[in-house]
């Protein structure tokens, strides 16, 4: 039996340290007038342990630490009997440390290191059950797709370093404030590429649902608090370098608008609870980006925190359900209301938060996102007014769809007739309870805009009513089928690009074996030809040699005469 408490204790120590560090920063005012301590711009990279924790950073840190701790506790039951529990638990700790590094650091390279280490940790954790083919495939896909996005961040750091002559984030902020945002479009689009990859937005969205074969607590960790959230956070963090750029903001708005609606629709038609929740994450992340695009980064971060809480709750609850039922297929569920009571009640809170039902935190933060988009339609932000209007409409439609799929999932999982008895291990339920309480408690003190609240609640209720009306029926075929196939968007990434690359690679390999060797082989053939020509003279007959000498002598004389 593997001893599990040291890992929980380790996580707890890290979490407590983070809490002690972050909580005092929550009240800090946003910061102005900072003078970089290292004034000489450096050409060469250097890492520094400088940190810069702003209130939003502190929130994200606390969220990450809290969720990780809960996941770790939860895992003692969920993964306790796994033979590779040790590597699993240690990777979770590493994951947390990397996330904290991304959130807290002031150094772009530390940010990048944390960012990539998270990518690798998620790769290893998604592939934890590497005996399963889909697990291996999902892990590889997650790694390659996010690494592709990460190139954006890498090149963005190159550009930032060259533009502002520093690798300090605050240094770059100050530079941008003093000199204006230089190369804002380039930096912004590059960072956008990175976060699109990391936060699974269109067109790089497909790795996230495919990461589902990983252990469910890991899914909770990745989806709620760390990996995908890092994308949102970093985009907001670097916003001062490109926040005034219309192109970047428009691109972000388009990406987020397309993603939120598509992902919500995909979630609506899933037959698998976990995959549906994965699409819901993608959709909710798009909300955060929409807020940032509307110029309200703090709103985006608020929604990030609230989403972190309720999505962690939902995934962990999903884990309990899977633990009990043995599968994540919705068809195998139903009637779990009575057999898994704690899970039922907490997940009900979670689904309510997802759907945006008062008084959960999801309601408030989502409303603030909607409100901020509405504000952006006045045309006072870099986002063009028309785009903002379109985004607002899409966001409301998504509220409808979100409420519908949340309701549908809740019904299919918990309503109906119970099939058999299940157990809920306490170390799995109390993290759920903690998160459920958090989903309600975090809403204390949230501001409320009555117009938006009324409209969004109306839309959400309509969605719920729609779901109630449809029950477990699929949508009409012409709508259901392409959505269930996720519009074939995965096709290029899973099929075309790998197949094409492998095809090109085979050609390259063949060319490398056979083609490039033309010049050495040609050289060899040429040498052989010359040698066989010369060998013809080596008859072994002395008079032939003498003749050759005579010919040579003549040639020499001849050349001498002609040259003279």
């Amino acid at each position: 039996m593997i001893r599990r408490w040291p890992y929980v204790a380790l996580t707890a120590v890290v979490a407590v340290a983070v809490a002690i560090w972050a909580i005092p920063e929550l009240d800090q005012r946003a910061f102005f007038g900072y003078v970089p301590t290292n004034a000489t711009p450096t050409m060469l990279p250097s890492l520094s342990l400088d940190t810069r924790v702003l209130p939003d950073s502190a929130k994200v840190m606390l969220l990450a630490a809290g969720v990780t701790l809960l996941v770790q506790v939860y895992s003692t039951a969920y993964m306790g009997k796994d033979r590779r529990y040790r590597s699993y638990a240690l990777l979770i700790v590493l994951f947390l440390v990397a996330m904290i590094a991304v959130v807290a650091t002031d150094n772009l390279f530390v940010l990048l290191i944390g960012w990539e280490v998270m990518g690798v940790c998620s790769y290893l954790l998604i592939g934890h059950w590497w005996e399963q083919p889909q697990s291996r495939a999902g892990a590889m896909k997650a790694l390659v797709v996010t690494r592709f996005g990460d190139l954006g961040l890498l090149v963005a750091i190159v550009v930032i370093g060259q533009t502002y002559g520093t690798y300090s984030i605050t240094g770059a902020w100050v530079g941008a404030a003093d000199q204006g945002q230089q190369h804002g479009t380039a930096i912004g689009l590059l960072v956008l590429l990175a976060v699109v990859g990391k936060s699974a937005q269109v067109p790089l969205q497909t790795w996230l649902p495919d990461a589902m074969p990983g252990p469910t607590p890991i899914t909770a960790l990745i989806h709620a608090a760390t990996m995908v959230a890092a994308g949102v956070y970093v985009f907001a963090r670097l916003l001062p370098l490109y926040g005034n750029d219309t192109t970047v903001m428009t691109a972000l708005a388009v990406v987020s608008g397309v993603t939120m609606l598509l992902a919500a629709l995909f979630a609506l038609v899933q037959h698998d609870l976990k995959r549906a929740l994965a699409w819901s994450t993608v959709s909710q992340l798009a909300y955060m980006f929409a807020a940032i695009a509307a110029g309200a980064a703090d709103v985006g971060i608020s929604h990030l925190v609230s989403h972190g809480a309720y999505k962690a709750l939902l995934f962990l609850g999903c884990g309990v359900v899977m633990h009990a039922v043995g599968t994540s297929a919705l068809s195998a569920m139903g009637g779990l209301r009575t057999t898994l009571p704690a899970t039922f009640w907490t997940m009900t809170i979670g689904f309510a938060a997802l759907a945006g039902i008062i008084p959960t935190v999801g309601f408030f933060t989502k409303d603030r996102v909607l409100e901020s988009i509405h504000v952006a339609t006045h045309g006072e932000t870099p986002l063009p007014g028309g785009v903002a209007w379109a985004l607002l409409v899409v966001a409301y439609v998504t509220v409808f769809v979100t409420a519908a799929y949340a309701m549908r999932l809740w019904m299919l999982t918990f309503l109906g007739l119970p099939s058999k008895q299940h157990v809920e291990p306490p170390s799995m339920t109390w993290p759920l309870v903690a998160l459920g309480v958090a989903c309600l408690a975090l809403s204390i003190g949230e501001p409320l805009d009555l117009d938006t609240a009324a409209l969004s609640t109306l839309v959400a209720l309509a969605g719920i009513a729609f779901a109630w009306w449809r029950q477990d029926a699929d949508l009409p075929g012409p709508v259901q089928r392409p959505l269930a196939a996720e519009l074939g968007l995965d096709h290029p990434i899973t099929r075309l690009i790998p197949a094409g690359t492998i095809g090109v690679a085979r050609v390259a390999d063949a060319a490398d074996r056979e083609g490039i060797d033309v010049y050495p082989r040609g050289g060899a053939v040429l040498a052989g030809l010359v040698s066989s020509a010369v060998r013809a003279l080596q008859t072994g007959r002395v008079q032939v040699y003498a003749s050759v000498i005579a010919v040579g002598a003549f040639v020499v004389v001849l050349v001498g005469v002609i040259a003279r």
Partner: protein, 99 residues
Amino acid sequence: MPLLYPLLLSSALFGIGLYGVLARRNAVMVLVGVELMLNAVNLQLVAYDAWFAETLHTGQVLTLFVIALAAAEIGLGLAIVMAMFRATGSIDVDEADRA
């Protein structure tokens, strides 16, 4: 007497000797060719000596040396031919490499 006469004769003998050296299979005949070429050289030397008429008689003395050397050479050459014949039973130069 024009100097050209001996010189032209020498040229002709040299060409003929060269042909003999290159074309004959019999080792002794090759040596005959060599002798002809040496004689061509001798002729030239003597002709120049007579034309230049200097007291050292360089040309004629050198000719004398050449003749002596030719004698030595033919002695050695024929000795080699004998040895080759003993070894291979033939004095055909094309087959000398079989020894």
